[in-house]
């Protein structure tokens, strides 16, 4: 705490000395919950009924210099199922740097992304408890407008500490069309190197301390057409199975995307194949449930649905090697998704007076087909062959405005979720989900929104129904009620209502929200990355302030 007080005082001295060219920005976020016993789902069995996660960030710039600090406080302890490494109050991030048009130097913590992140991405998501910022030194240099280089050396943040492993990174982005003055089309290339160095002990296998990864990318667009491709190769890396090094294997990833977009119409298709593409700043962190020590970014390439019942069976990308038992052997994933957007014109029979918007998405993901040797922890995959089906999802969304006051959304999803392979447990679920929502504007910023949801399946916990009612009293103050009810569950005691009531008040860039209710346990997913949250009942309070 002394350290923090000192640094904050130091920053404020800077502010006091600040002149015209200086600038300061703050952010404060607090997420707290008071957990209650629940007659249906059971008593609260952990220590500290009141738990709170708090973040205070301050950024200061003066001419070309910048300095920043993030203090985090998990007091008396962090919300349920956050990493045990996030405990009490401490400095989460600090950085200082110098920035001009061509040069950007940083020491301390920084976030970085090379290409799409397949080879390296550090980022923060407070809801997920992810903060894998790098701590070290970084140089960004842009000698020309079309030429950008990055070099870095760092260890990765883990809780309030850093990883055992070291990360080396080099990246280049080249805008070829500007460099060669190509007109009418756009062509960009990128190359990256990432090295992870960590001493290996206690193994007879021949493993290098340094694991090397290379990425090459190309992005092209002309008129309404665009396309990009990325290939990443990973050198020999230890394969961790059940917390032990069992083998040494290479890995790779191929990402290909193309699309066509013109006014009123858009189509996009993505293909991705990955084999043994996990990368951690500490090898032992392989498969940890807190998303700690993850160096690269491998999101599930599926549509992120917006409703409670569409988010029960959520796919998670499967880049890892896993040999659970002879009937559950995995070394990666292959698949893709297609998106289609269409704007139905005003004045047509479907479009009506205000037009309508249609969005369709279809995604399909499979395991890698090949020869698997369970006892030898080895495999040999085929390049473009589809193995076991992991997940498919088809959705259609129709948004329509009926009058100046009334608008509605119709949403249908068909999902097939192979729980055995995705979660490495048991079961397979085929589900159909229908959602309809209507918003009615009452004038002067007042509006009412109603949402009805229904999930039908013969598998797992069977059918669900849900509804949401939202009322905005004005643009600042809003209230909601929602309930999802697992009425189809075979066990009567498990036919539970997950009921929530809450409200929020916003003023300028600040927002305060309060909620009371019961949360469904399961995967909480943000941006294709998921965290397991236990079932809980209680009162939550969220404060977000930006200055």
């Amino acid at each position: 705490m002394k350290k923090i007080t000192t640094i904050i005082s130091l920053l404020f001295t800077l502010v006091a000395l600040s002149q015209e060219n200086s600038n300061i920005s703050y952010g404060f976020e607090s997420n707290s919950q008071y957990y209650l016993d629940d007659s249906k789902t059971g008593d609260f069995l952990f220590s500290d009924r009141f738990r709170s996660n708090n973040y205070f960030k301050i950024d200061y710039t003066n001419n070309n210099f910048y300095v920043g600090l993030q203090t985090e406080s998990y007091e008396p302890s962090a919300l349920l199922n956050y990493s045990p490494n996030l405990d009490k109050t401490n400095i989460g991030l600090f950085y200082l740097g110098y920035k001009t048009e061509k040069l950007n130097l940083t020491v301390g913590h920084f976030y970085e992304q090379f290409g799409s992140g397949l080879i390296l991405r550090s980022w923060e998501d407070r809801q997920l408890g992810v903060n894998n910022a790098l701590r070290g030194a970084r140089v960004k240099f842009s000698p020309k407008e079309y030429l950008h280089f990055t070099g870095l050396y760092a260890k990765q943040r883990k809780g309030f500490d850093v990883s055992k492993g070291e990360i080396y990174g080099l990246n280049s982005d080249i805008d070829l069309s500007s460099a060669f003055k190509i007109e009418n089309s756009s062509l960009n290339a990128g190359f990256s190197y990432v090295g992870r160095k960590q001493d290996v002990t206690n193994t007879d296998l021949d493993i290098n301390n340094l694991t090397n990864l290379f990425s090459s990318r190309l992005e092209y667009s002309k008129d309404n057409f665009y396309s990009n491709i990325e290939y990443v190769s990973k050198g020999n890396d230890a394969v961790f199975i059940a917390n032990q090094i069992r083998n040494v294997k290479k890995g790779d990833a191929l990402l290909f995307n193309f699309g066509y977009a013109k006014k009123g119409l858009g189509i996009n298709a993505t293909f991705r194949r990955m084999e043994n593409m996990n990368l951690y700043s500490e090898r032992e962190a392989t498969g940890n449930i807190y998303n700690e020590s993850v160096v690269n970014y491998i999101p599930a390439l599926t549509k992120q649905h917006d409703y409670l019942l569409t988010n029960i069976y959520v796919y998670q990308a499967q880049p890892q090697v896993s040999f659970q038992d002879p009937s559950l052997l995995k070394s990666g994933e292959i698949g893709g998704q297609i998106d289609f957007y269409y704007n139905v014109k005003k004045g047509t029979s479907l479009g009506g007076k205000y037009g309508a918007k249609i969005a369709i998405n279809s995604s399909f993901w499979y395991g890698l087909k090949g020869d698997y040797n369970f006892t030898g922890f080895d495999y040999d995959t085929d390049f473009l062959a589809f193995g076991e089906k992991y997940f498919t999802d088809f959705s259609i969304e129709i948004r329509k405005k009926w009058s100046k006051q009334l608008s509605s959304i119709f949403y249908y999803v068909n999902q097939s979720y192979n729980k055995r392979y995705i979660e490495e447990t048991f079961g397979k679920i085929d589900a159909n989900i229908i959602v309809t929502e209507a918003t009615y504007k009452l004038g002067k910023g007042r509006s009412v929104r109603f949402e009805g949801q229904f999930l039908a399946t013969q598998d797992d916990k069977k059918n669900w129904a849900g509804a949401t009612l939202e009322y905005n009293a004005n643009s600042k103050l809003g209230f909601y009620l929602n309930d999802i009810y697992n009425y189809g569950n075979d066990e009567t005691s498990q036919q539970i209502h997950y009921f929530n009531i809450g409200g929020s008040y916003s003023v300028g860039a600040h927002r305060f929200a309060l909620n009371y209710g019961r949360q469904r346990g399961g995967l909480l997913c943000v941006g294709g990355v998921c965290r397991y949250v236990p079932e809980s009942t209680g009162v939550t309070a969220n404060i977000v302030m930006s200055f």
Partner: protein
């Protein structure tokens, strides 16, 4: 708890020192070019930065609603809206077809790893920032149906 109170104290005593200038951060265009945000905002007219993402329903509702009245706004005031996508690589590929499908007329820039969002200490989207040159005049978070009218009244006030 004392520490929390301390933090709150720090915040409230420094509200007067709130940020007034937009930090200059590099963003990416839809064609993959790197540009600085400074180079994209006009020196003297009103610019509105709207932070959004393809998966954020209130953000899309807000930009849809403004899109319906954008030309009316521009008739009345010399202003430009820049829609800054905070989508990461999971959903970035959906931006182009989505904005075309919707027929939005905004300049779209990508904040691929949320560098600008973080520099402005934005936690939640939708988040709107009204600028004149690179000077921050107004910030707002959240969107409820009809709030675009209120936003326009505020823009009008600042444009005078």
């Amino acid at each position: 708890m004392n520490k929390l109170l301390f933090l709150c104290f720090v915040i409230f005593t420094t509200i007067n020192h709130s940020q007034t200038k937009l930090p200059n951060v590099n963003l990416t265009t839809l064609n993959g070019k790197t540009v600085s945000i400074d180079s994209q905002i006009s020196k003297d007219k009103i610019t509105v930065l709207a932070f959004w993402a393809t998966w954020c329903v209130p953000c899309i509702n807000e930009l849809d609603a403004i899109s319906d009245v954008y030309s009316d706004w521009q008739d009345e005031i010399d202003l430009e809206i820049i829609a800054i996508s905070t989508d990461d690589s999971r959903t970035q590929k959906r931006i182009k077809p989505l904005i075309n499908g919707k027929g939005w007329d905004y300049l779209i820039l990508l904040d691929k790893n949320q560098e600008l969002k973080r520099a402005l200490n934005i936690s939640l989207i939708p988040h709107v920032i009204v600028l004149k040159g690179n000077k921050i005049l107004y910030r707002n978070t959240g969107y409820s149906p009809g709030a675009e009218d209120e936003l326009f009244e505020i823009i009008k006030k600042y444009s005078k």
